[in-house]
Amino acid sequence: MPSERLEAGRPAPRGEAMSTQHRLDALRGTTPPRPHDARAIAALAANPGCSRRALMDGAGVDKDAAARHLGFPAPFGQSPFAITRGNVFEALVKADGCAELLRMLREALGLPVAEVAYHDVENVGAHLRHAHTRALIDRAATGGQDAGTLYDHPLLTLEIAGHTAYLEPDVVAFQLGGRFHIVEIKSFAVIDGQADPAAVAAAARQAAVYVLALRTLLEELGHDPLQVSHDVVLVCPENFANRPVATLVDVRRQLAVLRRQLTRMTSLDRLLAALPEDVTFDLRPDEDGRPTRPVAELADALRGATARYAPDCLSTCDLCFFCRDEARQEGACDLLGRQVRDELGGVASVAEALGLADGTRDPAVGQEEIARLLRNAERLRRECLT
């Protein structure tokens, strides 16, 4: 049973889901599915309006690989220094039976001194990790007094568009007021009580995925899912030292968003319907996984699914450079950002907007006002610049 889970374990698609599932698999083609990790799942909410992204995520297409193959590699490298720093810090927090973590849980959350039991789920073979996690969590939830406190390297799962995503929270802590808490270890600094809001938000979104997965697990096991707290324990280095500090982060909002996105994913068939039957995003990898699909062909296939490019994509989507290039070819106002695009009312193209401003183009029905505004703005600019 668990072993079957291991190979990209996908339950046999049923009924209505079937066609959708098959379409999605066809969309991905021979390329092996990119398993969703917590970050990927959290990122589903980054730009829900983008059909292209929704379809690629739904089909488990490796957007990064696609972007490379298209010649628009994503701009997200990670520095070896940052990676080392991250690992060193996590090791420090977990060293000596999570001594540091226990200190923080005791100080910040009043964890009783007696609560020190530590289970390293990874002590069992990788293939047993999920099953072992289930067993341990089940025992804890059933309220065995010796249920234990810290579960290191647990392995949770979540069904994403018919695929099982495997999720690895840093630590699950129990016995904080009888509830499970997700512990998220991050190496960005908390300085005088504050951290980079974007970084915290990302951590919160990711932790929300773990909370949801753990709640789902409890539900499957017939326990009260609310035994999992919506407060996650965020552990970061404090100020400029290596010393970790714990902060509680309320992820209820992120949970709500996550639920919305997961329900959306089930409605992919609407998007699929809009695609030609035979279209596929297959990279046609050769035996050593190198993509062989003609680039132009792949690009066309992708253009078949409309993107909704916004500059924010540059920090959230592997495909951003490809879509930005597309937007440039089309001379779309989206290039200038959501706000500008919104300000221009219905006007979508640069040429159109400027035409209206110069008066060289007559406003279409419904464009009268934006035309008036633009002409006025153009008049003022001319007046001030000449």
Binding site: F81, D192, N242, L335, G337, V350, A351, L354, R381
Partner: protein, 475 residues
Amino acid sequence: MSLLTSLARLRALEEGIAQPVATVRHCHLSARPMVFVPLKLSGEAAAPLAAMLGTERERPRLLVVTQPRNRDLRFAWAAELAGVLLPYIEGFLADTETVERRNADPYERAMDAPQLIVPNQGGVAFTRLLGRSTRFRRPDGPYPVPESVPVLGRWLTYFGERAAYPGSALMLAATEELGRHWASGQSGLEDANLAALLAWITTGPSEEAEDPLVWPPAGPATDPGFDAEVLAPAIESGKPERVAEALRTQLEPTWRLMWQAIDLLAGLPEGASAAQRWEQDRGSFSGMATHLAEGAPPQARRDGAVAAAARLARMERAQAAYDVQRAYDDPLVMAEYRLTGEAFAGEVVETDPDNTEGEGRSRKLRPLVVIKTDDPVRLPPGATLGTPQRRAQGAELVSAGEGLVTVKITKGMGRGRTAAPGAVPEVGERVCYTSLTDDFQGSPQLPEAEATPWTHGGPPQDYVPDDEDAQEEWS
């Protein structure tokens, strides 16, 4: 961002070159700015890696931490930095003027002040963090540092805070200032890339600008590729000069860009009110220096209740003043308000310079001016108006319609029975009036910090920089 700026961006995109969104420079530009390009170690909060800085474009100083994990080297670096910055800063303290104040003692104000220019907001934030991580240090005790380090920390903290103060020019971020004066054909997010923004302004968009190999990031973060393929091996090799060389390659391009940015800004005539804001900067700078000289403790980690409220009031006032001054100094900025109907400009078509109101002693001169304008006026009758052409005057909107606006001058006409020559605009003169005026009444007293009320946690225990501040180890 207003439609006016959006239009400029669209135009830039179409013409492939940035468009002006200001006709004058809205920040003071020092004759001897200190250009400061810091780099930090990826993955760390504020671990300095290197900095290129100096006041002369031909003679940049390169400071490098050749073994970033070694905290002693980091403090040595901080001391080196202090060795460059402190003399520069203190150099402005000698030459001062005495300023008389109403119901307060006169004080000494520096004739000129230092100006730090960093590439981007990241540079400002890093400066602030650098200040935070050094200002509590002690030259004695368990983790002693050179005496100059805590002093540097307090100055960097000060500059970092001034950078957040509307209209201050003590510390500028190049991308911010350029973006205030030119609209590129890319999004605001992309404007944060100095190379890209400058390309738009000078030669037009360039793919290279985003290629870290051609234009290394302007910091403080380094290019991950560079970290992996060049820096890490260099550090491993344990050869300081090799690390320094590697970092030089990352800093020099940005150094050149910084001076290009300064040249561009210098090319614009300075706005009328910039000098006034710079005067406040000089006053603030002198205040900080005195503070330091009197041996006051380092800036607290965070504002107390009263300090926060006081700062907020100052900043809100500064912001409002800054917005008004920019509009009054620059027709292109004023145009934004004309577009939204909060201002209008046009030609005077009729005047009644001798119009009066009231009788006998209370009889006052209230000249009327009729202006013909193409602007959409969205101001109600009775609205108080000001005008860039006669800043001392105040006016009131009488009526508006059919492109004609009647305005009554209500302030600054003096006592006389007839208007002084030039006080009332002549027929045919182009004038601009706006509801945007900067007559703020001062903000009311705040309680003393030690009188903080119970609603805000009561009196704080007064702040003593404790050992922890001085000893938190630098990982």
